[in-house]
């Protein structure tokens, strides 16, 4: 209260200067963003990633609570990086022990029930096949989060398409919302086709040897 009172006594001109200064700063940064020949015209600027709550466009910057919240960058600095979403690789963060989220609300010692079962989904067309790993999912989730509401627990029993995923169905219930977004194609499309195009085209044998990876390789490794 006393603090606010002191501020109000500042001479008029000082406040004017402050307002103009803020305006100038904003205009300067806007001018940089508006440069018609900026190197990256559409790709979001790295410095705009993980904004602090007061600047993220959904928190109210004049609410006192907002200023007490942790800026994501402070927490993410020590975590493995990824290319989009939170810009954090949550699988690596967990496996490397950088984070230790509780599996039980009260008891930090309860271990998750992890199931290591990969389901390979062959993809029509040129994209590599999709390997769905139960392991990485059951680290975080319960079977009932997916079965039976999102997926019937039977290999091949579910119709999945990229269109459905982009509409927020199937894998898209989580991917694109909380788990890594759809832009990271290769994390799902992780198994090269067993009969590679290269074989017909007569490209180096090395490419052939590489493609003979065993069925159901773990996508996370």
């Amino acid at each position: 209260m006393k603090f606010a009172h002191d501020r109000r006594r500042l001479p008029m001109s000082l406040r004017g200067i402050a307002a103009l200064f803020i305006a100038a700063c904003v205009m300067a940064s806007a001018a940089i963003a508006a440069d018609p020949n900026a190197f990256n015209r559409l790709m979001p600027n790295q410095s705009k990633r993980n904004p602090p709550p007061a600047e993220d466009g959904i928190h109210d910057p004049v609410n006192d609570g907002t200023l007490m919240l942790q800026p994501p960058k402070e927490a993410f600095g020590v975590l493995p990086k990824s290319a989009s979403g939170n810009y954090v690789d949550w699988v690596k963060a967990l496996n490397s022990g950088k984070i230790a989220p509780r599996y039980d609300r009260l008891d930090p010692k309860v271990e998750p029930i992890v199931m290591d079962l990969d389901i390979v989904r062959e993809v029509k067309g040129s994209m590599p096949d999709v390997v769905y790993p139960h392991k990485q999912h059951t680290e975080w989730l319960d079977c009932s989060n997916c079965h039976p509401a999102i997926f019937i627990p039977q290999k091949g029993a579910n119709q999945i398409s990229m269109a459905a995923i982009l509409l927020g169905e199937k894998c898209g219930v989580c991917h694109g919302k909380v788990a890594f977004p759809v832009s990271q194609c290769i994390r799902c499309h992780s198994r090269p086709k067993t009969a590679p195009k290269a074989a017909e085209g007569g490209v180096q044998p090395a490419a052939n040897a590489q493609s003979k990876s065993p069925k159901g390789v773990n996508a996370g490794k």
Binding site: A19, A30, N86, Y103, L167
Partner: protein, 128 residues
């Protein structure tokens, strides 16, 4: 806070509207809950997934505590939360700070709709 005269305010507002600086996006996975808040005269709630998933697996909220995995699907009153339901199962002064700290949860800008922020579905096609 800094008090501004109408003229100073005008300068600020015109600076912001003439040069929109808006390719900053909210943190991925932040959920706005506003089924009841604004109608009842308090700011919308912002729930940060990233902060909670550092501390808890998804299963704790979405299976153990039964939170629906659909933005806007959980209809809760503040009374239920104070009684220990929903956010109140943890924000009870034992696992996490209690519900007295209104402004930490009710921190959203006025007018926000209940939804999740950050993903392709919320941005429309073409952003990835």
């Amino acid at each position: 806070m800094l008090k501004l005269s109408p003229r100073e305010l005008l300068v600020l507002i015109s600076a912001f509207t003439l040069f929109p600086v808006s390719n900053v996006l909210p943190e991925y996975g932040d959920v706005v809950l506003n089924r009841r808040s604004e109608q009842a005269g308090v700011a919308p709630v912002v729930f940060p997934h990233w902060f909670h998933r550092i501390r808890f697996r998804c299963k704790v909220c979405h299976s153990e505590l039964g939170f629906e995995m659909r933005a806007g699907a959980n209809d809760v009153t503040m009374n239920e939360i104070v009684q220990g339901k929903f956010c109140g199962t943890c924000h009870n002064g034992e696992i996490a700070w209690s519900t007295e700290n209104c402004g930490l949860c009710h921190s959203g800008l006025p007018g926000l709709k209940s939804r999740i922020h950050g993903g392709h579905e919320t941005l429309g096609p073409g952003r990835w």
